[in-house]
């Protein structure tokens, strides 16, 4: 198998049984406890049940904790098939980083710039979805300004338009950036909320831009609902 081909990358993404149990323990037991008991993350579940097959999770991105919290909502039997999509130039910088991203986070690293890549990332992710893997995407592309959602990149549109049968699950993450802001290494518990939206399905023929816009507005409206949820009524009303 020639190095740098899609087949080689796919072979790379396969998870041996031992690592599968490690991932299950890390995310469904360890991180779930950390999020629930220490950080105090509140989970707001979707009204519909989780789809069975491959899905694309999309979420807003402000902190390294985001990918960890998304892994904890993946059903146990699919944890080894779910990959966060991360930037090669940041996470592949040192041997230790790329090793832990592969073995402990189960991430796929893609390059953000056109010059240095052998494989088109969209082709690779497309092939992974076809093979039954799930993906975790942060369509903002970077962690950005705390608490502010940037415009979505079109990757999620490309993938969803090629796979009309694969649902897109929007997830809104509120306040996780306070626990571990950009540029810090120490987690200080500050709480937060994870809102899981209902799966979105885009019929064949929906344009890439339409999908990207719909995905972004789905997450924006979840953010709005959460903001209005715990408002105090004015004093003069009984």
């Amino acid at each position: 198998m020639p190095a740098g081909s899609i087949d080689a990358e796919l072979f790379n993404a396969r998870v041996p049984n031992g690592r599968r149990w490690l991932l299950w323990f890390l995310y469904k037991v360890l991180w779930r406890t950390v999020f629930g008991v220490v950080i105090g993350l509140r989970y707001v579940w979707a009204k519909t049940s989780h789809p069975d097959g491959p899905v694309i999770y999309i979420a807003n991105h402000n902190s390294h904790l985001d990918a960890m919290s998304l892994m904890t909502i993946v059903p146990s039997h699919r944890i080894h098939l779910t990959h966060s999509v991360a930037a090669q130039d940041f996470f592949g910088r040192s041997g230790f980083r790329s090793w832990s991203m592969k073995n402990l986070v189960n991430a796929v690293l893609i390059s953000r710039t056109k010059e240095e890549r052998d494989v088109d990332p969209i082709e690779l992710l497309d092939a992974m979805l076809r093979q039954g893997h799930s993906l975790i995407l942060f369509p903002e592309g970077t962690r950005g300004v705390p608490g502010v959602m940037a415009d979505f990149k079109r990757g999620v549109g490309h993938l969803a338009s090629r796979h009309p049968d694969i649902p897109v699950i929007p997830v809104y993450l509120d306040g996780l950036y306070r626990n571990l802001p950009k540029g810090r290494t120490m987690i200080v518990p500050f709480g937060g909320t994870l809102v899981m939206g209902d799966p979105l399905l885009f019929p064949t023929g929906t344009t890439i831009d339409a999908i990207t816009d719909k995905a972004q507005s789905a997450i924006a409206s979840m953010a709005m609902d959460l903001k209005n949820e715990n408002k105090l009524p004015p004093t003069d009303s009984p």
């Binding site: 105090g40 509140r42 802001p181 120490m186 500050f190 709480g191 937060g192 715990n230 105090l232 004093t235």
Partner: protein, 320 residues
């Protein structure tokens, strides 16, 4: 007093109070379910959710109280931690002060370890004397003084209100030997939990049934004079009736019950004021029907320290 279950390694008084708690829970569950069956409505739905949460809370409290004292200490420390964690994001502390916030969290294990080791003097001084100076100093040496008055006020306040007060319950395990007192620290702990819980329930109940005039109309429109007075009087009577859990005489138990009820009301009112200023209804969503940890524990954390000192005064100091 005889044990209900002879083989169970828990003293008779505690067994009886657990039976009483169970009876109240069963009675209210049956009552609300019957009411809901006959005439469904919004109020009874809320009561059902609240009662379900009371079942879970009582189970947690009783199991943690009866376990090894170390487990009880850890349980209380967790409650303090949950309160801080719930309030810090709401209080909108400056993100650049997060190292000091981390220190505030670190105070919790230290305070409860001091309690566990029985180092009472240091325990009593650690937060209000040492941390009261150290935390503002750490905020100051950051070199950024804009908005610092707010943080200097909030952080020591949060520690005194939600860690220092609550940790006095752990100190109940280190009371000196009191002659003729058999219920033990577990009995005292359940006595306070029972009084504060029933205080909230009765003030709510009296307020809903005969409440007319609001005590604090601008802070918390739901608290009425009728609810307050009815609650305080009933809790005083209940405190006298349950005094087998304490080393107290009837009149001492009456004073204790009265103070616990009033302190519970005060804690509740303070929390309402804080929440109103922050523009939120509930401090969180951790307990269905009740809100967050602070919504449930506000009275409890305010009543804990007065309760400890009353028990100490009547049981140890006054008894000679």
């Amino acid at each position: 007093m005889n044990k209900l279950i002879e083989v169970w390694d828990v003293n008779a008084e505690v067994q009886w109070v657990i039976l009483i708690i169970l009876c109240i829970l069963v009675f209210s569950s049956v009552a609300w379910n019957t009411w809901n069956f006959l005439k469904p409505g919004k109020l009874v739905k809320e009561l059902l959710v609240r009662t379900r949460s009371w079942w879970v809370m009582c189970a947690c409290f009783i199991v943690t109280t009866l376990a090894h004292p170390a487990v009880t200490h850890i349980g209380l420390a967790f409650l303090s931690f949950a309160l801080l964690r719930e309030m810090y994001p709401l209080l909108k502390l400056d993100q650049r002060e997060r190292n000091v916030v981390l220190l505030c969290y670190a105070v919790i294990p230290v305070q409860y370890t001091l309690a566990y080791l029985g180092m009472t003097t240091l325990f009593l001084a650690f937060i209000p004397v040492f941390m009261f100076v150290v935390i503002p100093f750490l905020l100051v040496i950051r070199g950024e003084t804009q908005g610092i008055v707010r943080s200097i006020g909030l952080m020591p306040y949060s520690l005194v209100a939600w860690v220092y007060g609550m940790s006095h319950l752990a100190l109940l395990f280190h009371l000196p030997e009191i002659p003729g007192f058999t219920a033990g620290p577990q009995g005292l702990l359940l006595y306070l939990i029972f009084l504060v819980g029933i205080n909230d329930v009765l003030q709510f109940g009296w307020g809903k049934t005969i409440g007319q005039r609001a005590v604090l109309p601008k802070v918390s429109p739901n608290k009425t004079w009728e609810g307050l007075i009815g609650g305080v009087l009933s809790v005083t009577l209940i405190a006298v009736a349950l005094r087998f859990l304490t080393p107290l005489e009837a009149w001492e138990a009456a004073i204790t019950g009265f103070c616990v009820a009033v302190a519970g009301f005060m804690g509740d009112a303070i929390a309402s004021g804080i929440k109103r200023d922050l523009g939120i209804k509930n401090s969180g969503n951790a307990i269905p029907g009740h809100g967050g940890y602070l919504d449930r524990l506000d009275g409890f954390s305010a009543a804990a320290a007065p309760f400890f000192h009353l028990i100490y005064f009547f049981g140890v100091t006054a008894a000679g």
